[in-house]
């Protein structure tokens, strides 16, 4: 069996779906953020494989930009998680929709 473009795309699809399942199924905010990082990385893998197989170098520039944006997003997301868990003393997603906790102080 020879490795070709579709194999990379299949790995990318599987990684994306695993990350998507993590966003849907977990309630821990930190793990949801990790799953978002997984999905961004899966898209990056498909970008780079298209770039190499079709000789489109600008797709690698797009992958580079995606990496920068996702690092920035992780910074903001982690700051928000620190604030949320300091205010509500836990890292569960569903403290945010419980009206008992959300009254402004």
């Amino acid at each position: 069996m020879e490795i070709e473009l579709n194999h990379f795309l299949i790995v990318s699809l599987l990684l994306f779906v695993i990350g998507f399942f993590g966003v849907l199924a977990r309630r821990n905010l930190l793990i949801i953020l990790m799953s978002i990082e997984l999905m961004l990385n899966a898209v990056n893998l498909s970008f780079v494989s298209f770039s190499q197989f079709y000789n489109l170098l600008s797709a690698q520039v797009a992958a580079f930009f995606v990496m920068t944006i996702s690092a920035a997003e992780a910074g903001v997301g982690l700051a928000l998680i620190v604030l949320i868990s300091r205010r509500w003393t836990q890292m569960d997603l569903f403290v945010l929709e419980d009206s008992k906790y959300t009254d402004p102080v």
Binding site: I10, F21, A71, R87
Partner: protein, 172 residues
Amino acid sequence: MDFLFILFSALALYGAVITVTHKDMVICALHLAGSMLALAGLFFILGAHFIAGVQVLVYAGAVMVLFIMVVMLFDLKRKKETLFSKGLWMKLASLFFLSGLIVGIFPFSLHLFPPRSMETIQKTSTKDLSSLLFIDYVLAFEVLGILLLLIAVGVAVLCRQRPFLQTPSEKE
């Protein structure tokens, strides 16, 4: 090359599955780092050496340090959430629909992109990539620099102590 591809993709998928399903956040973060490193290996066998190096530096270096630091800020002995603790039926339903997504996209993609072997990969150098990045896309690059500055300032502003963000014990 086949062996390396199978090794790295299996490592990446294994790390991703453990990241999503494990209940301990430290183990999740470490498996995420392993998954990112395996993806860097995949970039390397694709021939994108610059992107592979940036992947190791940015994800396995910077982002992972951020995650581990945030995990360290909190009490780890608290009751941990497992994947099957609450809302099991909704999780099974989402798993069902996502597997449908895989089964739906998979044959479609085989028709959409005709097979290309690894021999069609032309050797791209970092020099070509840098000339593209610093000449054609230089405006986007500079805007990204401004965005990172804004992020740094915004996070510093967010994490300042403010009255409505204190814990109930701190207010008394």
